[in-house]
Symmetry: C2
Subunit: 348 residues, 2 copies
Amino acid sequence: MATIIQKHGRATVRDVARAAGVSLATVDRVLNGRKGVRQSTIDKVEKAVADLNYTRDVSASLLARATSARIHFVLPAGANPFMHHLEAAVARQADIAAQARLAIEMSTVPALNAEALVEEIDRLADEKCDCAVIVATDDDAVRRAVARAQTKGMPTITLVSDLPQSKRRAFVGIDNEAAGRTAAALMGRFCPPHSQIGLIVGSLDLRDHRDRFVGFSEIMLDEFPGIEIIGPAEGFDDARETAKRANELLNDNPRLAGIYSVGAGNEGLLATLRQRISPGRIRVLVHELTDASREGLAAGYIDAVLNQNVDREAERAIALAQILAVHPTAELDRRPVEIGIYLRDNVI
Amino acid sequence: MATIIQKHGRATVRDVARAAGVSLATVDRVLNGRKGVRQSTIDKVEKAVADLNYTRDVSASLLARATSARIHFVLPAGANPFMHHLEAAVARQADIAAQARLAIEMSTVPALNAEALVEEIDRLADEKCDCAVIVATDDDAVRRAVARAQTKGMPTITLVSDLPQSKRRAFVGIDNEAAGRTAAALMGRFCPPHSQIGLIVGSLDLRDHRDRFVGFSEIMLDEFPGIEIIGPAEGFDDARETAKRANELLNDNPRLAGIYSVGAGNEGLLATLRQRISPGRIRVLVHELTDASREGLAAGYIDAVLNQNVDREAERAIALAQILAVHPTAELDRRPVEIGIYLRDNVI
DNA sequence: TTCGTTTTGAGGTACGTAACTCAAAAAGGG
DNA sequence: CCCTTTTTGAGTTACGTACCTCAAAACGAA
């Protein structure tokens, strides 16, 4: 009845050396990819590893590893609450990562400023940082900087906002088109078959916002053809501007059934809603769990929140960066981060 | 601009000993709770620990720890697909846990059989297992067995299905009333204000199903008073029975707008839907991502799935068990596991 | 004071890997 | 065959903690 899944008596490098008929030093050379070992010997060792089902003891490995890998996060400065959450998440994960001999550093550059980001990437590549994790601004100068860094031996990972067609080694974030499609699937079911839904984005120049809009439109046209999409209006991820856009939506469309807020600035949206309507009159869908969106959920002004879990993202970015720092040519897991859906009663 | 969040040069036990003006052995005694140290000395050491911000190096600690803690999972045998997923998740996490010097064992007992579960708990307690993790059957004999085990020094954690009013040290699972409330919030928005929603549970004798039903009813009556709840009918977590209940619901209520399937057996529900209606005609909400529910989502027969992440649950249970194994009187994190909501485009 | 008890110190070994040196052995080229 | 280069072996040190022993010191009570 009882099955022991794993017990602690695992094979060690000594066992591998004995099984392969070589010395400890040779096993070490093979395992850590040092040169000066004949291919036939490498094969012998790898066979022994496979036969004994040897896996590196992570605790011992970390303990013995003298130097910490340097992983550097570059985040947009003084941006919206979401970015502050992301920053906090990186700091939290940094504490955990320190146990794994990873030195996590963080710096900020002005938001939406490609030049500043480029400068920072170049600086990091020069001072032999092991891996950069950036919230990318979609700009060709940034693409070139990423390529330069890769040449100099520093791989780059994009976080939250991707940089397609670039030399970045991985993207950690949600699939924003899928997020838009999911938003449409919810809103389409929330609203009457013949109604109007207003869209507010931060800016259509932002890749993630554009992707969400594309996904949303696709499903709406396909599955809820009776529903009319109003907009998108641009709120520039700013509370005041977003409040204005929401006011305009309500003024111009008295029979509006829903609002999908694609970007940030939800404090402003919420303020307008509180001022203009009673909770539940129109269906409201926003992105990211923040103080404002939690409050909106609790008060009934917001029906659902699509969220990317920043802790999971920071953790994932660090895990991938660690792999790259140790094994620069490794194949990385390409799965996007999960899109969380929160209503009032399942917020965390 | 750049901020180093953590670097690797941390304080060690030697630093603590020096700062406290005591020997290494004394620091060791204090840190590991061994007896024979004067309170005034304990205070000195703890002050030094605080001053130096000392934290145990987990890698070294694990490496030095000779023995593995034994953590034993007891799951219901041959049950539904969800339980098989849970089993697989435990096995996956066991591999990871082995790195942390944890020996994860697993056994199965007949489902819904309190006597067999009691026997297994007693057996584990006698053979000095460090912690048991059980999917509880709600029965007083089980409560007594858990209490006996606790007396013998083996703490118990409940998984997925709780055992309230017992000596279990923690529960790892979702808040099922909150899940029911969330289901109602979705269904209430999905369906017209005056319509009928059919409920199918496994059994009202199952605590989690009853809790979900209670939460669902609460929100429905409160926020969607025009919607009528039909049932609940009992499908006994069985595909055939659940198919029959779904058929009956469709026969008896030609204007049914939605079905909320609270328990398992969704293969049966899906079969009936495929046979009787076209995708999207009625809104369908089920629990747990399984082959059947994924298929239903993809085909458009299921609108949304409420899910508990079994990997997260297994991981959490192991983490809590580890704390209990090392520090039996520790206070444990009481937060429930997150309730995931999945539509077609955000499944993982 | 003296005895017994409690508390503390000093020192050791072990865990499994990383990273290094130096010498010895094997391979390869002419 | 010798000579050079490459490959391998043997051994050491280090990482930070856990756990152990034995002796020395401090303490408390009579």
